[in-house]
């Protein structure tokens, strides 16, 4: 291609902006203009390809879950689907592990919000000595690797009898969830004008009532986004669950790893388990996606 043919004149540039293709200043724009079909569908095609690229590991996992065990390593995508992988999960202990994951993640999310949201509110609204340092120290729990906390937790739980219990695991998850809640919710509370709460005080509300009736509803999208993140982090944890559970409180990620049998790996169970484990997070995220987007972008632009 010659240099001249690559040159885009001002009129073309303006046109491409009008057509909404302003960000693409490469030769692709010229080609698109020359090929009507590409102009009409180019962007959709690009987006579809990108989506396919992102989804390919998930799609691969899902097709594996339906493949017969004997065909697992066959390259062909043509096979007679089977539910054997899912059925064998239902017959084993996986269902219990799945419920354990659900219970632990829910408990941990609730605990984190109950403790973290008032803490974030206090750190935002109240001026006291060492406020910034407290917030920073809370963040340290996210900076240190989990192994740093595991051994102390392991020994303490042995002593307290909290090993292999759901409540014990939910408490451990506070180490990373609390930091998320406090730091995220601080941003959301900062976005709420303090004058609204002051108005509530004048109208007779106490501090707690102003928090409960004014500040909290106004940060609902942020609360939803924070809850989703807490849930996902808890749901996906493998390391703490690996060390601190035995039989009763095993969570789904650990249960899936247990399909790596000594004599061979149970691929259909691994894939079926992986597919099922993705499901609650997808449902949860879809349900609150409206709040999630609003919550995560809140405070991005200063008024």
């Amino acid at each position: 291609m010659t240099l001249a043919s690559r040159t885009i004149d001002a009129a073309e540039l303006a046109l491409s902006h009008e057509e909404g293709a302003g960000t693409d200043l490469s030769g692709a724009t010229h080609r698109a203009r020359r090929v009507p079909w590409l102009r009409a569908h180019g962007r959709s095609l690009t987006v579809a390809l990108l989506v396919l690229l992102v989804l390919s590991p998930f799609l691969w996992l899902v097709q594996l879950a339906f493949k017969p065990a004997a065909d697992i390593f066959e390259d062909s995508l043509l096979f007679v689907p089977t539910l054997d992988g899912f059925l064998s999960l239902l017959q084993g202990n996986f269902v219990r592990s799945f419920w354990n994951s659900l219970a632990v993640s829910t408990m941990s999310t609730v605990f984190s919000l109950l403790i973290g949201v008032p803490a974030a509110y206090a750190l935002t609204r109240w001026k006291f000595k060492g406020r910034d340092r407290i917030a920073l120290w809370i963040l340290v729990t996210r900076m240190a690797p989990p192994i740093a906390f595991t051994i102390p937790f392991f020994l303490a739980y042995q002593y307290l009898g909290l090993q292999d219990t759901l409540i014990g695991l939910a408490i451990v998850y506070l180490t990373f969830n609390l930091a998320i809640v406090i730091w995220l919710m601080q941003t959301f509370f900062e976005a709420v004008p303090a004058s609204l709460e002051e108005a509530a005080w004048i109208d007779g509300c106490g501090v707690w009532q102003a928090f409960w009736r004014v500040a909290l509803p106004l940060t609902a999208p942020g609360l939803a986004a924070t809850a989703v993140l807490c849930f996902i982090f808890s749901w996906n944890d493998f390391f703490y669950a690996l060390i601190l559970t035995r039989t009763n409180a095993i969570t789904a990620p650990v249960a899936i790893v247990n399909f790596l049998q000594y004599e061979g790996w149970e691929w259909t169970k691994i894939a079926a388990g992986g597919t099922l484990v993705m499901f609650p997070v997808i449902v949860f995220t879809v349900l609150v996606r409206k709040y999630l987007v609003r919550g995560l972008t809140a405070g991005g632009v200063k008024d």
Partner: protein, 451 residues
């Protein structure tokens, strides 16, 4: 749904319980007597943990019999191999009492035994009040008992599996077509691979990328070793001319005859590649290789052939792996734990497992039994004999002593890295093994080993 008669249900349950108890008692009359009669451990809860494998799975099925016989309740936990090792190592190191019976994992046995984390079993074995007369500890292969024995000469684990590293050819028909025999020496192997590599789109050779397990028989075969004289002298010997020659030979097998991404293959991928006939040769544990004889999942069941790992200039040194059941020092129910181990590894139970298809028993009487031998003949290869010969050879020469050295995992990592670096063309064999030597020395010093 049909309404159920509660009395009928009660009768059925009682009947099942009685049947189980009678069945167990008839299976293990010696154990019941040795334990001072039935239900001796009523009210005791035993926590047993092993990694998930065929034998523990059979035991889990038969647990109600042990519970009916002794009155003990058993929580039997079987996580995957890496999960189990991680948990057990942590639990034992804190001397916790969470477990009453554990699997004494081969690669950790020295660390766990020599740290005093496991209970010596000799006193239990000798005590006629606690051990059934027909338990017969000498029936377990000496080569299987050796890794479960401490430097004090005491036994810390009763083996439930004794496995050998063997060579397999999934498409031996291609070798026969080329007019060649099963390779006996390292030179033969290269000759055979050159003749069959890529024939009918079948790659010549692949191995599990845990080279600290699959490569070491070649290291020994070339006259090299991991340590100067394990377990007494742990100075690494990875930079010797023999070790470098072995590394070059082995990495070249992967480079010249391996499928794409050969250095990334995990044990299960190796098994699957051979089952599908995509790769012809490998060296792998017998439990993995036996799956090539499974007509339901293996496409090479009619063309597979097995043999010993090849002999090198210094001889033949097959790898072996043994796992046993032991009692942690922190257990609060040691007598009941010993009763469990006795039941789990009694002659009756192990024979029953062999009859059910279990493939790597540690009792000589099981290995010699017709039930086992019949099942282990796959397409004309006697896997049981190959395995037995390998285990006995390891027992005689003592070449597996390197494997139960507590700091071997550190050197193991260096061997994995060295073979990968050579096979991927990043370093020469000399450079890679000199680097492995230097890194191993540093790692061992960090671990407190005096060199």
């Amino acid at each position: 749904m049909k309404p159920q008669n509660p009395l009928a249900s009660l009768h059925r349950r009682d009947l099942l319980k009685t049947t189980a108890a009678l069945g167990a008692a008839s299976l293990l009359p010696g154990l019941a007597g040795a334990q001072g009669g039935a239900k001796k451990f009523a009210g005791v809860t035993l926590n047993v943990s092993t990694f998930s494998a065929a034998y523990p799975k059979l035991l889990q099925q038969w647990l109600p019999e042990f519970e009916a016989l002794t009155g003990a309740k058993v929580n039997f936990d079987t996580p995957s191999f890496p999960v189990y090792n991680q948990r057990a190592d942590l639990e034992l190191s804190t001397r916790g009492s969470a477990y009453d019976v554990v699997n004494v994992t081969f690669i950790y046995s020295s660390r766990w035994i020599n740290s005093g984390w496991l209970t010596p079993l000799d006193d239990y074995i000798r005590n006629a009040n606690l051990t059934a007369p027909d338990f017969d500890i000498n029936d377990f292969l000496p080569g299987a008992r050796a890794p479960e024995t401490g430097r004090d000469g005491k036994l810390y684990g009763i083996p439930w599996t004794a496995e050998a590293l063997l060579t397999a050819s999934s498409r031996f028909d291609l070798v026969e077509k080329a007019g060649l025999a099963f390779p006996d020496t390292t030179d033969d192997l290269v000759k055979v691979l050159r003749a069959v590599n890529r024939k009918e789109r079948v790659a010549g050779f692949v191995a599990d990328n845990h080279y600290g397990w699959t490569f070491v028989p070649y290291l020994h075969a070339f006259g090299g070793d991991v340590f100067r004289k394990a377990p007494d002298d742990l100075f690494p010997t990875l930079d010797t001319p023999e070790a470098i020659a072995a590394g070059e030979y082995y990495a070249n097998l992967l480079k010249e005859f391996g499928p794409d991404g050969a250095v990334t293959y995990q044990p299960d991928q190796v098994t699957q590649a051979l089952k599908l006939g995509r790769v012809n040769f490998t060296d792998a544990g017998q439990l993995h290789l036996a799956q090539l004889g499974d007509a339901a999942t293996s496409k090479t069941v009619k063309t597979v052939r097995f043999g010993q790992v090849p002999k090198g200039p210094a001889g033949r040194f097959p790898g072996t792996a043994v796992h046993g059941l032991g009692i942690p020092t922190g257990s609060k129910n040691k007598e009941a734990a010993w009763a469990f181990i006795q039941w789990a590894l009694s002659k009756q139970t192990t024979r029953r497992a062999v009859t059910a298809g279990y493939g790597s028993p540690a009792r000589r009487s099981d290995i010699d039994s017709p039930e086992f031998r019949q099942k282990q003949v796959i397409n004309g290869s006697d896997l049981a004999k190959l395995s037995l010969d390998a285990i006995e050879s390891a027992s005689k020469s003592g070449h597996m002593k390197y494997r139960t050295v507590s700091v071997y995992p550190q050197v193991d990592q260096q061997l994995n890295k060295a073979i990968e670096l050579i096979a991927s063309g990043q370093l020469s064999a000399k450079q890679a093994f000199q680097q492995a030597q230097a890194n191993s020395i540093a790692e061992l010093k960090r671990a407190g080993v005096k060199l």
